[in-house]
């Protein structure tokens, strides 16, 4: 047992990570990440597939051993106090882990028994978590008859059965319809109101990352930025200008020569960042020297934050480049280990 837990005064962070690393042979999936997650926080891990998010979450959940560094979850070391960590965390994976031949109720009951939840509290707690995810009426149904969204909601309910201090959600909304996605977000916010719980989630949906208290942007095994969504957006410090031109290459060259701006081509448009975008537009038309077909000025989004830190959009990062290679390696690794 570690001595620094349960101190009522100084509340230790829910998650404390120092120089955490994981290599699979030659491949460094996670290259020394540092961060802390405060209690009660909704913390998002954002990045393209293969950025190392799942590897990091697996280390925090004691499912993978770090090759370097350390991590404390709920005050316990993920390597030396594995079982103490497991007692205090709830997990919802990308892939389903329910027994389809059992009913929803039986799945939750088995979970409670495995975790040693006192039998007398189980029925009340079960009702509470099932009602939260709107499955109380369906508790007697076999899980294999449930839709994908219902299963994911049931997984969340099960992850909460034993009142974990930290709930890990690995891509909880992946592949779900918008309605289920928004209800899952409603539970997350409800949980923060009702339970004393910290939520750690990974996502590669930008719009969902906005709903987190703080987000860490991960790219190629490293954290490239960590702050509140607002601060990250403000940190870009400029408006996003998207123009369509007759000749994108000439426009990029002219932006560099005339205004000293760095621009990039994405999806048949030129994108660059400039302070006070609206006031810049008249100058743009007057001085660029390349015919412009359309202009769009917007406040920066998290996608822009991602781009400003990694030099690429999250979608491009997934389609090409090292992250892609990394992802294939990860698929091979996980496939081999599954």
């Amino acid at each position: 047992m570690s001595t620094n837990t349960q101190a009522n005064g100084a509340r230790p962070p829910a998650i404390e990570v120092r120089d955490l690393r994981k290599s699979y042979g030659e491949i460094e999936a996670v290259r020394g990440v540092d961060f802390e997650v405060a209690r009660g926080e909704v913390f998002g891990f954002l990045g393209p597939n293969g950025a190392g998010k799942t590897t990091t979450i697996n280390m925090l959940c004691t499912l993978a051993n770090p090759t370097g560094g350390s991590a404390l979850v709920a005050g316990h070391d993920v390597v030396r106090e594995r079982d103490d960590v497991r007692r205090h965390i709830g997990l919802v994976f990308q892939d389903p882990t329910l027994d389809g031949y059992l009913t929803a109720e039986q799945n939750l009951r088995l979970h409670a028994e495995l975790y040693g939840v006192e039998a007398a509290i189980v029925p009340a707690r079960m009702r509470q978590v099932l009602e939260m995810v709107g499955l109380w009426e369906r508790r007697g149904g076999e899980v294999r008859t449930f839709s994908g969204g219902m299963r994911r909601r049931l997984e969340i309910a099960r992850g909460l059965m034993h009142s974990p201090r930290v709930l890990f959600l690995d891509e909880p909304t992946l592949g779900l319809d918008p309605q289920t996605r928004s209800s899952i977000w409603r539970y997350i916010h409800e949980l923060r109101e009702t339970e004393e719980i910290t939520i750690f989630m990974t996502t590669h949906y930008m719009d969902e990352a906005e709903l987190c208290d703080r987000i860490a942007i991960m790219d190629q095994g490293e954290i490239v930025a960590l702050d509140t969504p607002e601060a990250l957006k403000a940190g870009v410090g400029a408006d996003r200008v998207r123009i369509e031109t007759e000749d994108d290459e000439a426009a990029i060259a002219a932006l560099g020569d005339v205004f000293g701006l760095e621009a990039g081509a994405h999806e048949d448009a030129v994108i660059f960042f400039v302070p006070s975008g609206e006031e810049f537009v008249p100058r743009l038309f007057a001085e660029l020297g390349v015919p412009i077909k359309s202009v769009n000025v917007s406040r920066p989004t998290l996608d822009d934050v991602f781009m400003s830190y990694t030099g690429t959009t999250i979608r491009d990062a997934e389609e090409s480049g090292p992250a892609h290679a990394n992802r294939i390696v990860m698929q091979v690794m996980t496939g081999a280990r599954r």
Binding site: N8, R11, C61, T62, L63, A64, N65, D83, D84, R86, R87, H88, L91, F93, D95, P96, T97, L98, D99, G100, Y101, L102, Q106, L110, H111, A112, E113, L114, Y115, G116, V117, E118, I121, A124, R125, Q128, R158, M161, H162, S163, T194, E195, E196, R337, R338
Partner: protein
């Protein structure tokens, strides 16, 4: 509790630290799941009986016509009864062990692996669950003893039940051990063909184990199933009213270099193998990830 009070209606749950009792509870939980699933799959209880019944009554009665001269008045189906019982248990137990592949494929294995309990508790629970299911299957065949002229004597029935329970446990452990690293049921089917069918044929389930050609006798003594079939057959023959010649021909007993292996030692061989395979299975699951 902190000053930021949680609404009263929220039910807080506490997960106790790991303990021996907790491990026993985990074993029971995993075992219970096997029972629930078995109860839901009643069709399988019936389908799994088809093969042993075919062997016992169709093959037993059919081949009787060829062999009545050499079975010294003992019916062939009575002779093969212990063997068929063991084989029925063998197949069911093997599949019970292999069901861990499905647990892996459909994800539930992961739910068990991340629980704050030892991996060994999960493997033990799985093996005990499989053994229970397979021996329930065996129990149905035990009920049919009278139909093949094996008497319903309590000592005999109890002995048969104990032996097949032991076998069920060992084979489930074997199945889990083999399936530990497998990702697909298809690979396991290959193993069934490669290992389980030869085990069945070589074990002496369908023939007496004396006067075999040297190579077959050698393989027979290596086959774990031999050590379950033989003591069960001895038990049955001890309770039959047959001539000495029939007993010598049909129930010669397993020998090691001419030494008659006692039935108790045979049962111990099965138990020891089961424990070793359970150990390997636990090691395999503890070593992953």
């Amino acid at each position: 509790m902190t000053s930021t009070a949680v609404p009263a209606e929220v039910i807080r749950v506490r997960v106790p630290p790991r303990s021996f009792r907790g491990e026993l509870r985990a074993i029971k939980t995993v075992w219970k799941r096997e029972m629930i699933r078995f109860g839901k799959d009643r069709l399988r209880i019936v389908t799994a009986l088809v093969q042993p019944l075919l062997f016992l009554f169709v093959l037993g009665n059919g081949l009787e016509q060829l062999s009545s001269a050499s079975t010294h008045g003992v019916e062939l189906k009575t002779f093969i009864y212990p063997g068929i019982l063991c084989v029925a248990v063998l197949f069911t137990a093997m599949f019970q062990g292999a069901s861990i592949i499905w647990d892996r494929e459909f994800g539930f294995l992961r739910e068990m692996m991340v629980a704050p309990v030892r991996r060994s508790s999960i493997v033990i629970g799985k093996c005990l669950g499989g053994a229970t299911v397979a021996s329930l299957q065996g129990a149905i065949l035990i009920c049919l003893a009278g139909a093949v002229d094996v008497p319903y004597e309590p000592a005999l029935i109890l002995g048969i039940f104990a032996l097949q329970l032991l076998l069920a446990f060992t084979i489930t452990a074997f199945g889990v051990m083999v399936a530990a690293r497998m990702k697909q049921m298809q690979s396991f089917m290959g193993v069934m063909q490669m290992i389980v069918m030869p085990m069945f044929f070589i074990s002496g389930a369908l023939f007496p184990v004396a006067n075999l050609p040297g190579w077959l006798a050698f393989l027979n003594r290596l086959d774990p199933l031999t050590y379950a079939v033989d003591p069960m057959r001895r038990l049955v023959f001890n309770h039959l009213d047959v001539s000495a010649a029939a007993k010598a021909a049909l129930d010669p007993g397993v020998t090691w270099w001419g030494w008659h292996v006692p039935a108790l030692l045979e049962a111990f061989v099965v138990l020891a193998l089961g424990l070793v395979m359970l150990g390997v299975a636990i090691w395999e699951f503890s070593a992953t990830e």
